[in-house]
């Protein structure tokens, strides 16, 4: 009787541990790299579980529209991913997102899925852009900065505001 209670206790502790681990993975605080703009955000352009499953679809689906039809105001852009998820080094420079332990490679190494985006695409934001205010200032000042990293904002409201500004600027 006594020993069986012990087993149950041990099993309970193990179960609780496993649940905590799964819970930790699911809540996903650990995936976002500290020091990136994303670390200070509530959510990505879509809920975290949707992003985890579908981010590659979002990017692949829209890239043809951008390259072949010139549609630049798409909701999901790789440049915006980089703008948000690259961690700052502290001197205005950024860690490449595919460096060991950084946002992209963190998961991709774990699941052994090779990542080829960055053979061609930039791994870092072009320049430091920590706030939306700064971004708006750039947009006001430079008509071409709609292409700068982070131009697609993080939440819909910001995104729409930015698009509105881009449209104004390009007129």
């Amino acid at each position: 009787m006594h020993s069986s209670t012990g087993i149950v206790r041990v099993a309970g502790v193990l179960l609780a541990g496993a649940l905590t681990l799964i819970g930790g993975l699911a809540s996903g605080d650990s995936a976002v790299t500290p020091g990136s703009r994303a670390a200070g955000m509530d959510a990505c352009v879509a809920p975290t579980d949707v992003m985890r499953r579908n981010h590659m679809e979002f990017l692949k689906h829209d890239r043809d529209r951008t390259v072949r039809k010139g549609v630049r105001d798409i909701e999901y852009s790789l440049a915006a991913c980089i703008g948000c998820h690259a961690a700052e080094k502290g001197n205005g420079d950024y860690h490449p997102v595919n460096d060991e332990g950084q946002f992209c490679s963190g998961c991709h190494e774990y699941v052994a899925v090779s990542l080829t985006c960055f053979q061609c695409h930039s791994k870092k934001p072009e320049q430091k852009m920590s706030t939306l205010g700064a971004l708006q200032g750039e947009l006001d000042g430079d008509r071409f900065s709609g292409l700068q990293p982070g131009a697609a904002a993080i939440i819909d409201e910001q995104l729409q505001r930015l698009h509105a500004i881009s449209r104004e600027v390009s007129r």
């Binding site: 390259v67 072949r68 010139g70 105001d73 053979q119 061609c120 008509r143 071409f144 390009s170």
Partner: protein, 259 residues
């Protein structure tokens, strides 16, 4: 009838007026909303064939020894960020590094007359590079810009063989530190895209044109060939110009005067 009598005549009229005012209010709001939706639609449809981007180069104004357009292009498109592979000699590096625009010097063998001109992708209406591409990576946008979709380019270089203008470059090396606006990687072909990132952002000039104008030469004029009121169309109407290798009947988007 009985129902009507229960309600005072006055109240019915008030109700009617109230509803009318509400409906009118809704109608005033609706066009604004619809307008916003329509704008979003046109943005996400992308480019259309209502425009055709082209260029006029006045080679009389193109100065011997000036390379401002080439430098501006390299800086605009991140070509100057490329590093020479360790151990590669000068000749190999010059032959292999990408070049979207280059200066060509012509000399008339009989008279000795020298003509300078910048040569780049001519953005043909019937581009041979698109004809030969086995994957469809080489393509022409609706607005006439001939481009390479690096997502589908397999680096076979047929397009480089097919191009009569030697306009395309192949990336032979691994590339680091790309610019956001011009992705670039080993194993793909690329060429002048008329600063497509500027056009998509609503711009109306290319980097080479800006640099040439800034230096006071104004040899390059960029614009819409289909718009009869554009500066480009007016200039083409006003003076005689020619296509390089017009005999190939590719109907190039880039034209030259004084050649």
């Amino acid at each position: 009838m009985k129902h009507c009598k229960e309600q005072p005549e006055d109240l019915k009229r008030r109700e009617f007026i109230g509803k009318t005012v509400l409906a009118a209010g809704a109608a005033t709001v609706a066009p604004g909303v619809l307008l916003a939706v329509a704008n979003a639609g046109s943005d996400s449809e992308g480019v259309n064939d209502g425009v055709r981007w082209g260029m006029l180069v006045d080679s009389n104004k193109c100065v011997d020894g000036c390379t401002k357009c080439v430098e501006a292009c390299e800086s605009e498109n991140g070509i100057d960020r490329m590093q020479r592979p360790p151990g590669q000699d000068d000749a190999m590096w010059d032959a292999q590094r990408p070049q979207w625009i280059r200066k060509v010097k012509l000399r008339d063998k009989q008279t000795g007359e020298i003509t300078n001109l910048p040569m780049m992708c001519q953005h043909c209406e019937f581009p041979p590079c698109v004809d030969v591409c086995p994957t469809g990576a080489s393509f022409k946008r609706a607005d006439g810009i001939v481009m390479v979709d690096r997502h589908t380019c397999i680096g076979c270089r047929y397009c480089m063989m097919a191009c009569p203008y030697k306009a395309r470059s192949f990336i032979h090396q691994n590339v680091d530190n790309q610019s956001i606006r011009t992705p670039r990687g080993k194993g793909c072909v690329e060429s002048c895209n008329l600063c497509v990132h500027r056009i998509d952002a609503g711009g109306s000039t290319t980097a080479c044109q800006d640099a040439c104008s800034k230096d006071g030469h104004q040899a390059i004029l960029f614009g819409d060939l289909k718009d009869p009121d554009s500066d480009l169309s007016k200039a083409l109407r006003a003076q005689s110009s020619r296509q390089i290798r017009a005999d190939l009947e590719l109907n190039t988007g880039v034209r030259y005067t004084s050649v």
